[in-house]
């Protein structure tokens, strides 16, 4: 998505608002909480992904939930951190999944996980294969392509037009669902930084107490979210 000349983009609006808030010197209301500024995504110490994989995840998640949309993008929400940490955890290694065969890569999707690889291995094998396809089709690895080429590549991946080995056929589904999870999960897992996605959709988080509200029709619930660890926004 490109900005039309002369039209304010969401990003420039945010920049202006932030500058305005900084200049006005207003204290945050007592209810909000300063989230400590985390290390930038460029300096982030990866737990599982290698440099090429990281570059791919950064570029791919940024197209799946772009920063130029209505709400925060995958990068603002630090979705790549979530994916890296998940792949390093018992999710990545499928510790509590049933992983015995037989595996039938031609089985219908409803038949479930049909590969001996765990999610971490799927990412490891699929990313170079997909990058090779991008190289062949568009002339560069995914992260080096233009946004339009990236969108086209992801569309091909989604439609099954990218010939991937049967063992990594779940790759697109994993990538998309892990990106959504990193965007909406509790911040303790590394994504949804500052509960930005919850603020954006108006989800009040782990408060679990709205007894007086179900019968208040057409009244906006005003209080910001709280995370499982007690962060406020």
């Amino acid at each position: 998505m490109t900005d039309l000349p002369g039209y304010p983009s969401r990003r420039s609006f945010l920049k202006a608002t932030a500058a305005g808030a900084a200049l006005s010197g207003l204290a945050l209301p007592a209810s909000a909480q300063q989230t400590p500024k985390p290390v930038s995504l460029d300096d982030y110490q990866r737990e599982y992904l290698n440099a090429d994989e990281w570059a791919f995840i950064m570029a791919a998640t940024a197209r799946l939930i772009p920063s130029e949309g209505d709400g925060p993008g995958a990068l603002e929400a630090r979705v790549p951190v979530f994916i890296d940490r998940q792949l390093a955890s018992d999710y990545g290694t499928a510790d509590d999944w049933y992983m015995e065969g037989p595996h039938d890569a031609s089985a219908e999707p409803a038949r479930g996980w049909q590969t001996p690889l765990n999610p971490a291995e799927v990412y490891r094998q699929a990313i170079p294969a997909f990058n090779a396809w991008c190289q062949e089709t568009h002339g560069a690895a995914f992260a080096e392509l233009s946004p339009e080429q990236q969108d086209a590549s992801l569309t091909s991946l989604q439609n099954g037009d990218v010939a991937l080995a049967g063992e990594v056929r779940e790759f697109w589904g994993l990538l998309l669902s892990n990106t959504k999870e990193g965007y909406f999960a509790d911040p303790q897992y590394g994504g949804n930084h500052g509960m930005q996605s919850w603020v954006y959709i108006g989800f009040p988080g782990a408060r679990a107490a709205y007894r007086e509200w179900p019968e208040r029709h057409n009244v906006k619930y005003p209080l910001g979210p709280v995370s499982i660890s007690g962060e406020r926004a």
């Binding site: 007592a30 209810s31 107490a209 007086e212 910001g224 709280v226 007690g230 406020r232």
Partner: protein
């Protein structure tokens, strides 16, 4: 001059003799308050019942240890006192004790052999027990409890508290009341309650204030300070008399339910009181718990109407009370959920409101109300801080088997946040108590961590 020296010398000699007498002449022990017939026998089960009513297990059982075999550490301002083995083991327990020696321990605080017991043993209160109950307890301990060989750690307090003969002088101050029970005589029910509260229940040990000499200020019902509230190890044992006290705010039925099950329409018992419910009160008959409730209700002269039963089976849906006049402003502020609310209110909304509700009224028999809750507004802030940090547990009882557990929030809130929340709670819904500082929270958190 010579005469003067002679007088001084004489006085010194007299002083030494007096001191030696103080240390070595055996103390006169009290006679039975009432003579029992030679062939008197306790009713079956009477002794065990007295054991429960007197909560012997609370102190004389170590954590994870055999019942009544002693070895529990009891913290006192003078140091740690180790409770003794009261099973009938000849060597390490009380198997060799005669009945008169046993009574002397209960009534005068003197062990076999003449040693003074530390007043962690509430003989100030057991002194008021009836002869037949003491005798029934003795028969039970000797005949029905299995002897357990368990050598307990000897209590070694620092000087001067290690000089046990000094307790003799302390007893002159503490044991001014006669042995035996003197009923007020309002009604049979209230007299029975008075007996259980004053004597075996030893409620005054925590709920009466202490004198400067650490003896109980108010041991019997005729004293104004009796059960006027005390402080034990940084915890308030709330006043059980006076306008704002629970016995005056609650019905007799609710009081009895609290005693027997640790929960009622208003509150739940945790900390030391939870242990009393768990180890002692749940084993008493409904009639006796009602009797204590009736006595407490009428202690200041109120008219007492006692129901036949309480805590009936089959509670229906949980009733959730709305806010009252005093709590309305706080409740509507919380309900509006305005982001500009004070930090304490925001923390309450994020952490507490799901169970204790915007009204601060909680829910009957599960979530205690925080409005007018003595633990929330007490002079001591440690209990409130501790419950926020570590949570709390209400034991299950025969009538209400479910154990209630509140989670702790130590990981979810900083010291500053807990202080904000606690300070806010102490002013919410018409509560009126002072601020809590982050340093107080840190002290409780660090003390817990070092355990």
């Amino acid at each position: 001059m010579k005469t003067f020296l002679r007088i001084i010398g004489g006085l010194a000699v007299l002083g030494v003799i007096a001191l030696l007498a103080f240390i070595f002449v055996p103390v006169q022990i009290s006679k039975p308050a009432q003579e029992l017939a030679a062939d008197w026998q306790p009713e079956p089960g009477q002794g065990e019942y007295v054991m429960h009513a007197s909560d012997c297990v609370a102190c004389h059982t170590a954590e994870g240890g055999e019942p009544l075999a002693g070895g529990r550490a009891i913290a006192s301002p003078m140091g740690t006192i180790w409770s003794t083995n009261i099973t009938p083991d000849a060597e390490t327990g009380i198997g060799e004790w005669s009945y008169d020696e046993f009574r002397a321990a209960m009534v005068d605080g003197i062990a076999k052999g003449g040693t003074h017991l530390y007043p962690a043993m509430p003989y100030e209160n057991y002194r008021l027990m009836k002869e037949e109950d003491i005798r029934a307890l003795y028969d039970y301990l000797m005949a029905e409890v299995e002897p357990v060989k368990n050598e307990v750690q000897e209590t070694q307090l620092k000087f001067p508290f290690n000089l046990r003969f000094g307790i003799r002088a302390w007893n002159w101050l503490a044991l001014t009341h006669d042995a035996g029970f003197n009923p007020v005589g309002t009604s049979d029910l209230q007299d029975r309650g008075q007996y259980l509260v004053e004597g075996p229940g030893h409620c005054a040990a925590c709920h009466s204030p202490r004198t400067p000499f650490m003896s109980q200020d108010g041991v019997t019902a005729d004293e104004d300070s009796f059960l006027a509230g005390g402080v034990i190890d940084g915890w308030n044992a709330p006043a059980l008399r006076g306008e704002d006290s629970a016995p005056q705010q609650w019905s007799v039925e609710q009081l009895a339910a609290y005693l027997a099950t640790g929960r009622n329409a208003h509150s739940t018992a945790n900390g030391e009181m939870g242990l009393v419910v768990e180890h002692s009160l749940q084993y008493l008959t409904d009639e006796d718990n009602l009797a204590m409730a009736a006595f407490l209700k009428g202690m200041d002269g109120a008219e007492v109407e006692a129901p036949e039963t309480f805590a009936a089976k089959g509670v229906g849906a949980i009733e959730i009370a709305g806010a009252d006049d005093a709590g309305e402003a706080t409740a509507s502020m919380l309900t509006e959920a305005n982001p500009d609310m004070p930090l304490g209110a925001r923390l309450y909304s994020d952490n507490c409101i799901g169970c204790h509700f915007a009204s601060g009224k909680g829910a009957a028999e599960i979530f205690p109300e925080l409005q007018d809750n003595h633990m929330v507004t007490g002079s001591e802030t440690k209990p409130l801080i501790s419950v926020i940090l570590n949570g709390a547990e209400v034991p299950g009882t025969a009538k209400r088997p479910m154990t209630l557990r509140m989670q702790g929030y130590a990981d979810r809130m900083s010291d500053e946040e807990v202080a904000e929340l606690a300070s806010w709670l102490r002013k919410a819904w018409g509560n009126d108590a002072g601020q809590v500082s982050a340093a107080e929270v840190a002290a409780v958190r660090n003390a817990d961590a070092s355990h």
